[in-house]
């Protein structure tokens, strides 16, 4: 029995490893997308947290450049001041909100009207509807960016690679009219013009105003908008894992104590 039990355990372990191996090849591995540049983000790993200054700069890039075409319908200005994000001060949040003109109404005359934004307002979208967005962008619809960092394989690495991936097309490649070559975009033909260039966004800190920094910062910002509770999750996770680990040891000892003398040749 003990011999076959050992065999059974070994075989079972092999099966468990096999299952783990299958799980380790996630379904999306099949999509042979372009190679992405992998960065060392402050938020990756089990203890990863966002870099506040980076998120603030990222918001600056988003607001100055991306927001001209891309909506961010899931975000409110108040989120910019909430813990675990860029954590702008309350006053800054009010100022940032009030810079936007929000459509409200109808008023007592039945008309819609514009007013300065409040922290509880959603980010104002650049176009009223998808049709208008298409019309203004040569037929292409700039996607909403709220959860973009979770909606693409590679997440922030993809966004960074895309923003830094513009370049000269290979000589043998046929481009459709109005498309631009991008090495990170699936199919390498993207409708979006190269959005970033050195110096186009002012930074309030002394971070060099380079395309590379803009791409990094806005990718980090988009990761935060996609996963605003990441810091809370990582912090709680540490506590829960330590608790469960100690609990597991205690349960193991309890099991051994209760089963003492019941397992083996000891009647």
């Amino acid at each position: 029995m003990s011999f076959s039990m050992t065999r059974m355990r070994a075989a079972g372990l092999a099966a468990a490893l096999g299952l783990a191996a299958v799980l380790a090849v996630p379904a999306q591995a099949a999509e042979h997308g372009p190679e992405l540049k992998e960065l060392d983000w402050s938020f990756s790993g089990p203890f990863g947290m966002y870099d506040r200054a980076q998120l603030q700069r990222g918001y600056q890039v988003y607001k100055t450049i991306c927001a001209n075409c891309h909506s961010m319908n899931l975000m409110s200005y108040r989120n910019l001041g909430e813990p675990g994000g860029p954590e702008f001060s309350e006053g800054d949040v009010k100022t940032l909100a009030s810079q936007a003109q929000v459509t409200d109404g109808p008023n007592d005359q039945g008309d819609m009207f514009k007013r300065p934004g409040r922290p509880s307002d959603r980010f104002v979208a650049p176009f009223a509807n998808p049709q208008m967005a298409r019309a203004a962008n040569g037929g292409a619809l700039p996607p909403d960016l709220s959860v973009m960092a979770k909606a693409r394989e590679g997440g922030p690495d993809y966004i960074y690679s895309l923003l830094t991936g513009y370049g000269e097309k290979p000589d043998d490649m046929q481009m459709a009219p109005g498309m631009h070559y991008n090495e990170a975009f699936p199919g390498h033909q993207i409708a979006m013009l190269p959005p970033l260039a050195d110096g186009v966004v002012p930074y309030t800190d002394d971070t060099p105003k380079t395309l590379d920094n803009y791409a990094k910062d806005v990718a980090a910002f988009l990761m935060w908008t996609a996963e605003p509770k990441l810091e809370e999750r990582h912090k709680l996770g540490t506590r829960v894992m330590v608790f469960l680990f100690v609990f597991a040891i205690i349960m193991y000892l309890a099991k051994k104590a209760v089963w003492k003398g019941k397992h083996h040749k000891a009647i």
Partner: protein, 194 residues
């Protein structure tokens, strides 16, 4: 639980300590997991982000009342006549069932005088949450010709609570004066609630 006779007492007490610790851990885990299940029902952060309502009062005339919505609640705004203000002022505090103003813009213990109920420095204006403090119905008395009750203010059709021209409870089962929300005049005829 059966214990074999070969076990010595030390083993038994060691085992008991381990089992009690394990039970404690299970208890902590169980109780800690209940909190998220309860807390998720509290107002979420979008509801907590205080919405404000701005109201333009320029079209209102003396004696007129309007109802606006703030955080899902009806706000009664009445531009009272001089008679109504006088009626509110005439009542001695001792006659009031509820003697505090219930005005979010004043200290908690401010007495329920007509001044303390009305807008600061603009006594004809009364702005309050139009919800009966008995069981939450909306009292009549806003529309012209609707039942204003014995005291010329509001009458709650559900259980007969009567409010005076300053929105104070005078008669019936309601325990408190109708509440005054946080608000301020942002111009001569403009208020911002919240």
């Amino acid at each position: 639980m059966s214990t074999s006779i070969t076990e010595d007492d030390e083993d038994v007490s060691r085992r008991d300590v381990i089992l009690i610790t394990a039970g404690g851990f299970a208890g902590v885990l169980g109780v800690a997991s209940i909190w998220p299940l309860l807390d998720q029902m509290n107002p979420d952060s979008s509801a907590q982000a205080l919405a404000t309502t701005e109201v333009d009062l320029s079209h209102m005339e003396r004696g007129q009342a309007i109802t606006v919505m703030w955080r899902g609640k009806p706000i009664f705004i009445r531009y009272r006549t001089d008679d109504e203000v006088a009626a509110g002022k005439d009542v001695p505090l001792s006659e009031l069932p509820d003697k505090v103003a219930r005005n979010a813009n004043l200290p908690d213990d401010a007495p329920a005088t007509d001044e303390n109920r009305a807008a600061e420095g603009k006594e004809p204006w009364l702005v309050m949450i139009g919800i009966c403090t008995h069981l939450g119905c909306i009292p009549d008395g806003q529309a012209p010709g609707s039942n204003k009750g014995e005291f010329g203010g509001w009458f709650c059709p559900c259980h007969g609570s009567q409010y005076d021209t300053a929105g104070r409870i005078r008669k019936g089962p309601a325990p408190e004066n109708m509440a005054i929300p946080p608000y301020a005049f942002t111009g001569d005829t403009k208020i911002k609630i919240g």
